[in-house]
Subunit: 453 residues, 2 copies
């Protein structure tokens, strides 16, 4: 029993040297953000004055300048641009899908669709539709695929309490569905949008072709239209025409926007906080990932406003290209490695600006124990748990170099209503929820800066 | 040490007799609600087909019929109406406030305002405005009050992480502000709306006059207009005209709508679940309290759908008059007392249909310990805590009779954006968040039914 007692006592004492002081500093950070936070106004600028900003687009170039200026105006010790080549995919026109024949009778039922990001199209493909529930049904019916448009009806499982679990289960249909159908001779693919939204907006997002199969066009259909298509497919044969014009232009120069608050004790050791500046082209990129961008700037502003002098250098990074290439996050880690930088922690916000509930982390056991010991300091602001689910996409290349990483875990229920859809706009973000995300992230950064990880 | 060990082991064993079975039943309830839940469609009907439904209004009468039918169609063993007299306040026209003179120069700046519920008005009052930060300033300047319109700028403290704390702090300005100014001769009162919303919608809500002072008209002003008024008041003298026409018609007959699932072991012992059917007149009453109404019906539907046979009789109650009288909740407790009914638990949903986070409860220590022991069963669905803050308003009269009570505690950040404002509409409710509220409430009801409290 003695051993256990010592462990119980030793852990909090070691990790929380001055809990009273820490609570006071965190309260100061929280008050500053909730009272004077600029994140909401910054998000308005980014969404309404810059707008959708896919890597390579003119809006993306505008976003880089906006981000640099916003960093400079909000307390950075210095701001620099980190060059990296980014892909330049363009939608190339209005995506369209029309059911033109049902059981050999002509009709004209237009579906609300979006081409998948990175997909290639050069006009209209018309073919009979083979609707399947999932990959298992595709495999069973592979002999029927040739010459057809394959429709995957795989949707979110509504009984998963956490929608990110559902996204994990069905994301593969968007990423790999086209090539897996092309393998058996499909001429086009349509997927059910990855959402449980009650609205019909289609949801785009990145896909990737396997080089060994034809690069067929691929679209996502709105969930209400998907319901109809699925019902229709169970009783009728039907033919659809789908029109897409996605293509790649040559890679262009993009930039990570990086700001720093210089460390006073360990200026050569880095803590990274970031979000990604790029977004899909069809919306304002408010929750994906405008909220992460303004969380990042807000944390810097607030730490500077309360006069906090970090021990380590804190880097605030707006990553260049999360959505369809991860070139920004990859470049950031490459440079860190090339320069031999020591990165002690990296945190991203890329799951929306909803009420914060916790953090996903990619850490070892000792680090997890340390994080857990901080929960009493963080829980008054919303953080209930650290779950070992890795960090954000942009900091994952740093994780490969051994850096412990994390991602803010806001409430998940509304995220996939907006994710990659037209509905991802400023108006869907709540000011207080947004600010509280910054509060919890800033508090965690403060603790890591003070105690290490 | 031995004692502590035994305690640690004994508590969960006693309270969670068959944790595996309970987890399975709760999962079954959750799956049923998340897969087949009708709460969102019912909310659409109530908000769009019935609309705002203040007690005494024709829409309220329509809501009673709607509620009765919805209960009957969704699995009730029996449904009855419980008559109670309800107040019948009417707004009586368009509320208006205009700044007509600033520093003796004529102007015309219209403010977005709503008369407070229960306030009396009979046309236009024009007077100089005395703006005060709070009651303390009112008391200091009481000699300046006579003949003026008093404006209270008391707003939510943004540094409170939980907005219900702020509502607790400032609600008194709405309820008592008019009479406290009338005491010193004020001819009208305007309050800052009780919200932190970034929008300018004014927020109404109930006030009450003290009989000893004149019953002066009272309005709430939208928060952005409030900002302007406050700035103006610090540098200028200004005159305002305010027009309201609120008055009471004679009390009318209203009804609590009550449905039952009959108890198989203790049919004469009751568990109550409810929400309130009435709402303010200026909106659709979606989050206040359409969500509580449809939570209530959904829980009944789901328990019936999975074939659950409760040990105790479960009452599902749509209360008649929470907003400006509490006559429904009062009547329900009176009848319970008169009939000598044994009520073992009463739970209300009246804090919105946002992601559930926990329950507020009004219970004793032993009951709290029992509730806490159930957290591992509830936390997968969102319930993180039981906090001792009492139950919903409609079940508080039962609490006075000794019944342990509770209220669902959803995430609070968006509630006061909508509360009593025009913006409280169906579109602001998320389907999954709504359904998850019903899941957590149903799970708690199941545990109380099985183990008592």
């Amino acid at each position: 029993m003695k051993k256990i007692l010592i462990l119980l006592l030793a852990l909090p004492l070691a990790a929380m040297a001055q809990p009273g002081d820490d609570a006071a500093v965190i309260k100061k950070i929280s008050d500053e953000i909730l009272r004077n936070g600029r994140a909401y106004e910054l998000l308005y600028q980014l969404t309404k004055q810059v707008g959708g900003r896919l890597a390579g687009s003119p809006q993306f170039a505008k976003a880089i300048q906006w981000g640099k200026t916003a960093m400079e105006k909000n307390g950075a010790d210095n701001v620099f641009l980190q060059e990296c080549m980014v892909p330049h995919w363009v939608r190339g026109g209005q995506d369209k899908a029309v059911i033109i024949e049902v059981d050999k009778k002509k009709t004209s039922r237009e579906l609300d669709v979006l081409a998948l990001g990175n997909s290639l199209g050069s006009g209209t493909v018309t073919a009979e539709v083979l609707a399947v529930a999932d990959f298992a049904e595709l495999e069973r019916r592979k002999d029927e695929v040739k010459g057809k448009i394959v429709y995957y009806n795989a949707g979110f499982d509504p009984t998963n309490v956490k929608p990110f679990i559902s996204y994990g289960q069905t994301g593969i249909y968007r990423r790999s569905g086209p090539s897996r159908a092309a393998k058996y001779g499909a001429v086009g693919v349509m997927i059910r949008s990855l959402t449980e939204s009650a609205a019909n907006d289609p949801h785009t997002g990145a896909m990737a072709y396997m080089d060994s199969f034809p690069k067929i066009p691929a679209i996502a259909v709105g969930p209400r239209d998907a319901d109809e298509v699925w019902i229709l497919s169970r009783k009728s044969n039907f033919t659809m025409s789908m029109t897409t014009n996605g293509h790649f232009l040559p890679d262009t120069i993009g930039y990570n926007v990086v700001a720093e608050l210089k460390g006073t004790e360990f200026p050569g050791q880095f803590i990274t906080v970031g979000g990604h500046l790029d977004s899909w082209d069809v919306n304002e990129g408010a929750s994906d990932d405008g909220t992460g961008v303004v969380h990042t700037i807000e944390i810097m502003r607030a730490l500077q406003a309360i006069g906090y002098k970090p021990k380590h250098t804190i880097r605030f990074v707006l990553f260049a290209n999360e959505e369809n290439g991860l070139r920004g996050g990859t470049k950031y880690a490459e440079e860190a490695k090339a320069k031999g930088e020591k990165h002690i922690f990296a945190l991203e916000s890329d799951a929306g600006g909803f009420t914060p509930r916790g953090f996903s982390v990619g850490v070892n056991k000792e680090q997890m124990a340390k994080l857990q010991s901080w929960l009493p300091l963080l829980s008054p602001y919303g953080t209930e748990e650290f779950t070992n689910g890795g960090g954000g996409a942009d900091v994952s290349p740093l994780m490969s170099l051994g850096t412990p990483v994390s991602e803010l875990g806001p409430d998940q229920q509304r995220y996939f209503d907006l994710h990659h859809a037209r509905s991802d706009v400023f108006e869907k973000v709540n000011k207080r929820e947004l600010l509280l995300g910054a509060v919890n992230m800033a508090a965690l950064i403060y603790l890591v800066d003070k105690y290490g990880l």
